[in-house]
């Protein structure tokens, strides 16, 4: 008999988006940090492998080196350009094309905003932009409302993932409608990434326990008084939620069930 026992380890668990594979299920934004140093430290602490960036006109009156790009390149991050700030399909498509030209990437996070106050997506605009970009060969990751029917339409169009919101962008409310998110998880054969609304670590874990494949967040980390520590918390919370989902929770019961053996208790029987 051999005394080398095989180590019991859960199998490797990767997130696949188009041709891109990731070990980390946490994707982070790069906005709202108070300094590039804090941003770099927080991204590192989050363990994320992909970060999202916005595309904007160069401010011709300001001088400054591309320190963000240098930092992201040094960190070896996959860059996910987004169309944040676009309010119609046409500008989202233009933004995606510019991003592809600039970064030589097929990845794009499509965001077509329909309302300034809630920053809810414009559903018809998002569908239109995604249809065009899928045809042009992009790996399309759309930010969308937590509506199962819309998510199915996006999947049918050929999106590489669907990214329903948990709550409005920057609200930190956590998963407002776990039922919808769960329905989307059940029906989808592409990865489901919760994009927006996570406020703290328990929100991240709760979302992952519903079975979503990943989380995208920015404000919850960048806006925390200690972003680096919150980034670390989010990393642990995302991993904990994923592991708990894969492990499977026990059923809830009304009454107690002892976890120690009942036999051999002192004074029991004769």
């Amino acid at each position: 008999m051999s005394d080398t026992q095989p180590e019991i380890q859960p199998p490797d668990d990767e997130l696949t988006l188009g041709d891109h594979r990731f070990h980390s299920r946490l994707v982070t934004g790069t906005g709202k940090y108070t300094s590039p140093e804090i941003a770099a430290a927080a991204l590192a602490a989050s363990g994320c492998e992909m970060v999202t960036v916005a595309v904007r006109r160069v401010d011709l009156s300001a001088r400054g080196a591309g320190s963000l790009f240098a930092m992201l390149s040094e960190g070896g991050y996959t860059i996910l350009p987004n169309t944040a700030g676009c309010y119609d399909a046409e500008s989202a498509v233009r933004t995606a094309r510019l991003a592809r030209e600039m970064l030589s990437t097929d990845l794009v996070k499509v965001e077509v905003i329909g309302d300034e106050k809630t920053l809810y997506p414009d559903v018809p605009g998002t569908l239109e932009a995604c249809a065009t970009l899928v045809k042009e060969g992009f790996t399309v990751l759309p930010y969308i409302t937590d509506d199962p029917v819309t998510c199915r339409r996006l999947e049918d169009l050929g999106c590489a993932a669907v990214m329903p919101l948990a709550a409005p962008i920057g609200s930190g409310l956590g998963v407002c409608n776990p039922y919808s998110i769960e329905l989307i998880v059940q029906q989808s054969s592409v990865p489901v990434i919760v994009d927006a609304g996570v406020g703290t670590a328990s929100d991240a874990t709760a979302a992952m326990e519903l079975g979503v494949d990943g989380l995208l967040m920015n404000t919850a980390i960048a806006g925390a008084p200690d972003p680096v520590r919150m980034a670390r918390a989010m990393r642990a919370a995302t991993e904990a939620g994923r592991d708990a989902y894969l492990a499977g929770r026990i059923p809830k019961k009304l009454y107690a069930t002892a976890s120690s053996p009942l036999e051999g208790v002192l004074g029991a029987g004769s």
Partner: protein, 78 residues
């Protein structure tokens, strides 16, 4: 062709007089020669490899973009 003359173009929504004759010269004139940017000329993307040979014409509208920190929503914060 008037080599020393200035041309009127619109860059990022702002009217400018430039001496550049190509997209590459324009980026150099704007101090962006070594920056990671993408350029649209009259709503058509100009691939980086074509910057040197893409001529500017009077009245061209150019967009020069880069990427900035941002997650979603308004984005654009540095």
């Amino acid at each position: 062709m008037y080599a020393a003359g200035l041309m009127n173009v619109v860059v990022n929504g702002e009217a400018r007089e430039v001496s550049a004759r190509t997209v590459r010269e324009l980026l150099e004139e704007l101090g962006l020669g070594d920056r990671l940017v993408a350029v649209e000329r009259n709503q058509e993307i100009v691939p980086r490899a074509a910057h040197g040979e893409t001529a500017l014409t009077e009245g061209d509208a150019l967009e020069v973009v880069h990427f900035v920190g941002g997650g979603r929503g308004q984005g654009g914060s540095r």
